[in-house]
């Protein structure tokens, strides 16, 4: 019959139409379908039915741990009364070299005698150029640069607000632990592991089992991160 295909399609549309209301009714006695974190979690999961839209900015999707948006610099947790602790960055320049669009500028610190100091004097990221690829965080050997989860960076002035300096970039370790708890814990474990194996190596001094140990270290790190860092 001509027109059957259209009718079949209309049935699908009708089903969607009805489902969206059924879901509203289901959530009515459970705190409402919208502006409700429980409902949002279900709506966005595989069980989501009906209208799955998120009412941004009133509702926001939780971002996964690996979410990446404009890097920040990790510092020690600040001592009381201060905003930041000691920078983890040693200004080795790996992030600046690996950065695909070259948006990182680092001025290496200098000791009074003119030799380089493992600390950045200045650190800039032009977030207009940054493409959020996460390579800097991936290849930083000191866990000192990490990708942020704060994606609301709109501002009124691009020339003054969009080059982030060291002050703007620095965030304490506690912040990183908060936004990426699993990853931060794994990184801490890997750092401890590395520290320990270094000590052990020193104690043993030259016995020829270095390779096995290194392999174990690599494996441990990979498992810890579930990533390919280091």
């Amino acid at each position: 019959m001509y027109g059957l295909g259209i009718l079949k399609g209309m049935a699908v549309t009708m089903k969607h139409f009805v489902t969206s209301y059924l879901d509203d009714i289901f959530w009515a006695s459970r705190g409402g379908r919208y502006y409700n974190d429980d409902a949002l979690a279900v709506r966005q999961s595989l069980e989501g039915k009906g209208v799955i839209t998120v009412f941004y900015p009133e509702e926001k999707l939780p971002v996964p741990e690996r979410f990446r948006f404009v890097p920040f610099l990790v510092t020690d947790d600040p001592p009381p009364g201060q905003k930041w602790g000691h920078e983890w960055c040693t200004s080795c320049g790996i992030c600046a070299k690996v950065c695909p669009p070259q948006c990182i500028w680092i001025e290496r610190g200098k000791q009074p005698n003119g030799r380089p100091k493992p600390e950045p004097e200045k650190f800039f990221i032009d977030i207009d150029i940054c493409m959020n690829c996460g390579m800097c965080a991936e290849f930083c050997p000191f866990d000192a640069i990490k990708m942020d989860h704060d994606y609301e960076l709109a501002s009124y002035n691009r020339t003054s607000a969009h080059i982030h300096d060291k002050e703007r970039l620095s965030k304490p370790l506690s912040y990183w632990r908060e936004i990426a708890p699993k990853k931060a814990a794994a990184e801490a474990a890997a750092r401890d592991f590395a520290e320990e194996s270094k000590k052990r190596k020193k104690a043993k001094k030259g016995e020829d089992d270095g390779r096995e140990e290194r392999l174990a270290e690599v494996m441990a790190r990979q498992l810890a991160y579930k990533g390919a860092q280091y």
Partner: protein
């Protein structure tokens, strides 16, 4: 598809491998063919005088009837320019046969191969645009990606872009000096452009506009008794149905299309030059931005090419993860493509948004795995960047994937089938519209769903298998009518096949749980262990995506980085498909090709 029309019988030729074919060619043209003796290079160097004849032999007799890629290379050290042809055999598959033609850098004249492969038209125009090759016999040799008044050839090694800093990244100013600046502050706008000597900008000195229309005033008198006038109209670049900033100059007789010329390049950013300035690893996030709907596949093609150069091996788990990602990308892309095709046909938003529900789930998974929904930047040389995440949207990852692959996606395809396949309007608008014959599809170098909807079962996953595809059980989807409706159906078929593949991949992922995902320690500063060239090709959702990468020994940057983008080359056949149809059909035909302007314009 009849065998005769596609493949003339080859007398006495048994072995269709590139090596055997090259040996045969060498017998015929001993004077004009020499081996490419450079370290790490393959194929033959052909004398410019004989390239047309050799191409004809390959196309009509020897089975290499598909021109996969054509690109220029600047050999500035030898003061030469080179054109590299990758030809493939539709019937026999296998590795591509590589031909090269070298010409003088100051006088780069060579014959065009468009009479044999019409699909070379836009690729030759691009080579002219980027390198200044003069193709004799080309029907319409104009600039294609840059604007018509452009001065210089941007991919030549001695050409410098307006905000030029250094030849290669990483730039010295970033570390340890670290003097921050904006490119536009150091090099002010207006002072960053070079004009030809004696050129006075007035605004109306370029006749490019009239030129672009001039090529399409074909005379075809439909009704000699009635005096009619042809009208040339402009469609785009701000047209909502052109999928981005794409423009077509169309000549009409009434409502009927007599000629069509695409005008593109509005999104051109010289991706290839950026790629040559960039480090090897720095290119991976840039490939995301080509076809931004399917960034995982883009990563895959590029890492395959560089892995060939590096001789890297990929651990088993990483291969399975790659296939998982790439096939999910294919589904996400086709859901998008069908949604937009229906949008173009007038089914505004509804089917598209229904399909998006499932696409969202796939993107959620990508976000959890790689950190970004679309700009995944997930693959690395020798593996992938991260293992699968622990959980996605509150569910363990394997359960999420299982539910997605076994329940949600089949259900969505089924629902789409009910919604669209039988719809009389879709059938009326799609059937018989935008026909492309199998012969034309091959000649125009069409790839992917466009080629397969025309009845040519050519899929790189089968024809020239990479990764673990040869161990997987799936069919090459093929449809025979070559119209819009079949191009819709073939995408549905391909999604079904992708689901089949995904179902086979899941157990392997469980088996290899905890295995290595990368080949050794990832390096941030890769230096090529040896010189050479590599052509990495993958079956992107839109067609054959190829990366032609060459490198010098110990270099950290590619010497040549070319992207054979399926969207761009599929557009070559657009005019062929559109002629004789109505304006409203152009939109649908374009939608059925499924282009992404990030990839067309590069």
């Amino acid at each position: 598809m009849s065998e005769m029309t596609l493949e003339a019988p080859v007398a006495g030729v048994k072995d269709h491998s590139p090596e055997a074919t090259i040996a045969l060619l060498k017998e015929r043209y001993p004077e004009h063919i020499s081996d490419d003796a450079r370290d790490g290079y393959e194929g033959i160097i052909v004398h410019p005088d004989k390239i047309v004849e050799i191409s004809r032999d390959l196309q009509s007799e020897l089975g290499y009837n598909y021109l996969a890629s054509l690109t220029g290379v600047d050999l500035i050290d030898d003061n030469k320019l080179e054109i590299v042809y990758h030809t493939a055999s539709i019937k026999h598959g296998g590795n591509p046969l590589v031909l090269k033609v070298q010409v003088d850098r100051d006088n780069p004249v060579l014959p065009s191969v468009t009479p044999i492969w019409p699909g070379a038209e836009y690729q030759e125009r691009e080579a002219f645009d980027m390198y200044g090759f003069q193709f004799e016999g080309h029907p319409d040799l104009r600039r294609i990606l840059t604007w018509d008044g452009f001065h210089g050839y941007p991919l030549r090694k001695d050409w410098r872009e307006p905000f030029y800093e250094e030849d290669n990244k990483p730039f010295g100013s970033r570390w340890p000096g670290g003097e921050v600046f904006r490119a536009e502050e150091r090099n002010l706008y207006g002072k960053n452009v070079q004009y030809p000597a004696g050129w006075m900008p007035e605004g109306d000195e370029i006749e490019a506009e009239t030129d672009s229309y001039a090529g399409i005033t074909y005379s075809r008198d439909q009704s000699p008794d009635i005096k009619t006038e042809k009208v040339t109209i402009n469609m785009g670049p701000q047209h909502p149905s052109t999928h981005g900033v794409f423009r077509m100059a169309i000549t009409l007789d009434g409502e009927t299309i007599m000629g069509l010329k695409p005008v593109m390049g509005y999104l051109h950013r010289n991706h290839e030059k950026i790629g040559e300035r960039n480090t090897f690893i720095g290119n991976i996030p840039y490939t995301d931005r080509l076809d931004y709907i399917s960034s995982m596949s883009n990563n895959h093609g590029y890492v395959l090419a560089v892995e060939k150069l590096m001789d890297a091996t990929v651990p088993e788990r990483a291969e399975w993860i790659r296939i998982l990602m790439v096939e999910l990308t294919r589904i996400a892309n086709h859901l998008w493509a069908i949604g937009f095709l229906l949008n173009d046909l007038g089914a505004l938003q509804t089917p598209m948004l229904y399909y998006y529900i499932e696409r969202e789930l796939i993107l959620d998974f990508f976000e959890a795995a790689s950190g970004s929904r679309m700009m995944c930047n997930y693959m690395r040389f020798g593996g992938v960047a991260y293992d699968l995440p622990d959980d996605v949207r509150g569910q363990p990852v394997m359960k999420f994937l299982h539910d997605l692959i076994y329940e949600r996606l089949p259900k969505a395809l089924n629902q789409g089938d009910q919604l669209i396949t039988g719809n009389e309007i879709v059938r009326a608008r799609g059937m018989g519209v935008g026909y492309l014959s199998p012969e034309d599809a091959i000649a125009y170098s069409a790839a992917g769903p466009v080629l397969r909807a025309s009845g040519v079962p050519y899929d790189l996953r089968k024809a020239n298998p990479y990764s673990y595809y040869e161990h997987l059980d799936f069919d090459v989807a093929v449809r025979y009518n070559g119209d819009i409706y079949d191009r819709f159906l073939i995408r549905v078929d391909e999604m079904q096949q992708s689901l089949r593949i995904l179902q086979q991949v899941l157990p392997h992922l469980e088996e290899t749980e905890g295995g290595a995902i990368n080949d050794g320690k990832p390096q941030y500063a890769i230096r090529m262990p040896k010189a050479g060239e590599a052509y990495g090709r993958v079956e992107n959702p839109k067609g054959e995506l190829g990366y032609y990468v060459t490198a010098k020994r110990r270099d950290a940057n590619p010497a040549r980085y070319h992207v054979r983008s399926p969207s761009f080359i599929n557009l070559t056949a657009l005019e062929k498909m559109c002629i004789g149809h109505k304006v409203a059909d152009v939109v649908a035909i374009l939608g059925s090709i499924d282009i992404v302007l990030g990839e067309v314009d590069r």
